[in-house]
């Protein structure tokens, strides 16, 4: 175990941002912390990184107590903060070089530039970088000390799809090297794609933990039938559909989790035809359940507002 968190609590005034959570992260795994904005992800990560003090609980990283020897731990972890926070008047290469000087051990600047595909912008001042480039530099900085654990806080927010997939391959690369990656994200498909295990967090509490497959399997034997209807049918109508196990209704977007897809689908079609103009079906598709559905089932809300 490279990270052990026991009964962690953090309060800000009246608000309990992190409410008695415990979990472990194994060496070499990509661990995801998943939850909506304000769920307590960043607070938890920043306590583990030694950037904030906990109100209660114990955190150890690489076998060392965070509250006792933060400097020692910081040598061996890499940190990417949520918003890129860099010095505007330094260029990419200079920024990496400066950070490399903070550590006893570091990778060469070139190596990291290659890894994050930043070679072309190595001489560009930080203030002139695009949002995506800044984000990649920010990730590059978290890898400059060849860390045992990399903490990436929403690393793909604001990236275009291509850059996002580029970053995913960086994380895969880390996994191959046997490094541990601690990822927070509110992108469910990202967590499903990358993470060996995820902890789903909401209102400062872990509400589910396990591999993405396991979480989906435990919560859903069903497939999801998703469609729009204007006006939406009532919950009662939906729940009465044959095969329907569970129903989620979000404005006029409807998800029916069904154990018997053909029967449910046929019933939905019939219902729509009976209503004629008033019950027009739109954007109907069938898919397997995802982490997003798990979150919806556990909290009654979608992860993104």
């Amino acid at each position: 175990m490279v990270i052990e968190v026991e009964n962690l609590v953090k309060r800000y005034g009246e608000i309990t941002a992190v409410n008695d959570i415990s979990f472990d992260v194994n060496a070499g795994e990509v661990f995801g912390m998943l939850g909506p904005n304000g769920a307590g992800k960043t607070t938890t990560v920043e306590i583990i990184e030694g950037l904030r003090d906990a109100d209660a609980g114990r955190v150890s990283v690489l076998g060392l107590d965070v509250s006792k020897v933060p400097a020692k731990i910081k040598q061996r972890i890499g940190v990417q903060l949520q918003a890129p926070t860099l010095i505007p008047l330094l260029n990419v290469q200079e920024t990496l070089h400066m950070f490399a000087g903070f550590y006893e051990r570091s990778l060469s600047v070139d190596e990291v530039l290659d890894l994050l595909a930043l070679q072309d912008s190595r001489k560009v001042l930080v203030k002139n970088l695009s949002g995506g480039q800044q984000q990649r530099l920010s990730v590059a900085l978290s890898l400059i000390n060849d860390p045992d654990i990399a903490f990436l806080d929403e690393p793909t927010t604001g990236l275009d799809p291509q850059a996002r997939h580029g970053l995913w391959s960086v994380i895969e690369e880390m996994r191959k090297k046997g490094k541990t990656v601690f990822l927070t994200t509110h992108y469910m498909e990202e967590a499903e794609q990358l993470c060996d295990r995820v902890a789903v967090i909401d209102y400062g509490k872990i509400i589910a933990m396990g591999s993405p497959e396991q979480l989906i399997y435990e919560n859903f034997e069903e497939s999801a039938i998703q469609f729009e209807m204007e006006p939406p049918p009532s919950i009662e109508v939906l729940q009465a559909l044959p095969g329907a196990a569970n129903v989620a209704l979000d404005s006029n977007e409807i998800i029916v989790y069904s154990k018997n897809v053909p029967a449910t689908l046929a019933a939905i079609m019939r219902y729509s035809e009976e209503g004629g103009e008033d019950r027009q079906l739109k954007n109907l598709f069938v898919r397997r359940a995802t982490l997003e559905d798990v979150f919806l089932k556990l909290t009654g809300r979608r992860i993104r507002e």
């Binding site: 950037l51 040598q75 903060l81 926070t85 200079e94 400066m98 000087g101 903070f102 001042l125 900085l141």
Partner: protein, 359 residues
Amino acid sequence: MKALRRLLVADFRQFVRDRTALFFTIAFPVLFMVIFGLVFAGEADVSYKIGVVNNDPSGRGQTIVAVLDSMDFFETTDGELDVMLEDLEDGDVRAVVVIPEELGSATAQEPVDITVYYDPSQSTSSQIILSILRETMNQIDRQITQQLPVLQLNEESVQSKDLRSIDYLVPGIVAMSIMILGLFGSLTLVEWREKKILKRFAATPVNKPTMVSSQVIYRLVLALVQTAIILVIAYFAFDIEVTGSWLLLIGLVLLGTLSFISLGYLAVSRAKTTEGAMPIIQILQFPMLFLSGIFFPVEFFPSFMKPIVDAIPVTYLGDGLRQVMVDATPLHSMTTNFAVLGGWLVVCLILAIRFFKWE
């Protein structure tokens, strides 16, 4: 050490890329000096008419009149007080010096006042005249109380005439530049805090003393470079040579910079944003600029301002620099100057460490 070195390199890289910083640290003081230098250079050719009313029958009064007479800067006329004052009102003379009757019997224990009437509406010339009169009187006074021969007094008076306005001004510009450099330097940490750059650094093994040291060392180097540039230009443009000890000069520059940096850090310790910190620094800077005696001798200020003048650190930095650079008459001893600057440094440093918010 490696971390400190890399931070310093980064500081200087930013400096040369930051046009505002370049302007205020290098161009601004130089422009300031050159403009004022040209203004005063024009006036230096002019001699001012002053009236002298000598009520002292002893030789001392006559000595003063003789000294003032001998100066190219002044054209003296003597006469009765009321006539002279009328001339002053009419603008025929720029100032009237009244030597009291008791001058002959004055001792160090029982000093007497020499009164100067001047026209405050003619502020520039009045200030110049007053500063030169003050210098001259100080020189004469020193000679009289030390009871040295009158012959030497004349020699001395020639030297005191040499203290031109620009001589008074250049050390003031050095002090001003150091103050601006130190005070505004504190904004970097505020900006880093606001932009969460400090937080990013906190996630690395770099500690706060290293971060602050890099900032402080960087400003000390800048202060020395800045002073050197001002001195070089002052030497070539205005023929000003440093008369005193270079070691003392460097010591004053470094200590002054440190004091103002810590004062700056204290002032912005709770400011949340750079926008919020900027006015705090400016509010601090303006009175210090004008009440410090950097540009005008402190005698010009109304007496209720004297305590402020005596409290602010620029006064002592300016005075120290003036003594070292142009051998001006001391307002305070060098020890006092160093002690007051050091005192400000220690107090501000302790308070800044106590109050500075890192996040």
